[in-house]
């Protein structure tokens, strides 16, 4: 049986160069999926019967909203692993994901406002979906401020992990808010249990843009985790050797 020593990659010293090789690959994939996704979104997907061209905001709004929730869950997962097993790299990964997740949350809120105005007649309402997504943004900001405010990185990891894990409760609330409460926001556009409520080409555009968002998020998080590794391991022998090689 083939065996790969996965623990080898949980060491920052071996993960650093590996991540460095993966970053350009994921940026390239992000660009390719974006080009394909934008082409389908603007030139293949037809005009919407009820919303006209305004609906084309969906191609960034939905992928950004998915990423905002998904990145949070991945962040909470790594933070939790770091808390439970005291693994350095997992906590660094959690910290590397937070700014990218916050960015996607902001994009989801921003594009939502610009979509809400022409279709609902308002930029913002304090309903369950919008409010819980705003709380998600505050959770990201809270996590980043908390971990930045504590000088000792190990203690910062622990405090951040508790906040991230408690805040994870908010993610299912966002996701199911459109079913649990009366809201202006429409229900899920894509579901595993029923046929999609949109034209196939629209769905294709949205999925391509979602893939682009995924690839971008991986690239950005990996390139940030490399910086965090360097910052935290600067006194170790392997970083000193790295600096010897690349003056």
């Amino acid at each position: 049986m083939m065996s790969i020593n996965w623990f080898k990659y949980s060491s920052p010293a071996t993960f650093y160069p590996l991540a460095g090789r993966l970053v350009p690959l994921f940026y390239t994939l992000a660009v390719l999926f974006s080009v394909a996704g934008l082409y389908v979104s603007f030139f293949v997907a037809p005009t919407d019967a009820t919303q006209g061209e305004a609906y084309r905001i969906i191609f960034i709004h939905v992928p950004a909203a998915w990423m905002s929730m998904f990145i949070y869950l991945v962040m909470a997962f790594w933070a939790g692993i770091g808390l439970a097993f005291n693994t350095r790299l997992s906590s660094m990964m959690a910290q590397a994901l937070a700014p990218t997740g916050a960015m996607f949350t902001f994009v989801a809120l921003w594009t939502g406002a610009l979509w809400g105005k022409p279709t609902w007649g308002t930029w913002w309402v304090w309903d369950a979906r919008l409010t819980s997504e705003l709380i998600l943004l505050f959770l990201y900001i809270g996590y980043m401020s908390l971990t930045a405010a504590i000088d000792d990185p190990r203690r910062a990891d622990k405090a951040g992990a508790i906040l991230a894990l408690v805040g994870a409760v908010n993610v299912p609330i966002i996701y199911f808010s459109v079913q649990w409460w009366n809201t202006l926001h429409q229900g899920a556009s894509v579901s595993l249990t029923r046929a999609p409520s949109m034209a196939m080409t629209m769905l294709t555009g949205m999925l391509l843009m979602a893939l682009a968002a995924w690839m971008y998020a991986i690239a950005a998080a990996l390139s940030r985790v490399r910086l965090i590794i360097l910052e935290r391991e600067k006194h170790t022998a392997w970083v000193q050797q790295l600096l010897d090689r690349k003056p």
């Binding site: 603007f42 061209e53 305004a54 905001i57 960015m103 610009l114 950005a220 003056p247």
Partner: protein, 64 residues
């Protein structure tokens, strides 16, 4: 093909402000993050290299 001309494309059926406002700010956010990451890497490597050089100098100057 959805658009009769480029001007129709940019006009976005009257929703240009909302559609392009969404795409432009998203692009700005992505570009901003990539820029900040690159800048953080540059300054970090500069500091680390300086620290490393100084440490090497100290080591060489100390009589053995």
């Amino acid at each position: 093909m959805n658009w009769e001309s480029w001007s129709a494309f940019w006009h976005m059926g009257g929703y240009a402000f909302y559609v392009w406002g969404s795409y432009a700010v998203t692009l700005l956010c992505l570009a901003g993050e990539v820029f900040l990451l690159a800048r953080r890497r540059r300054t970090l490597l500069k500091t680390l290299n300086q620290m490393h050089r100084l440490a090497n100098q100290d080591r060489n100057e100390t009589p053995t």
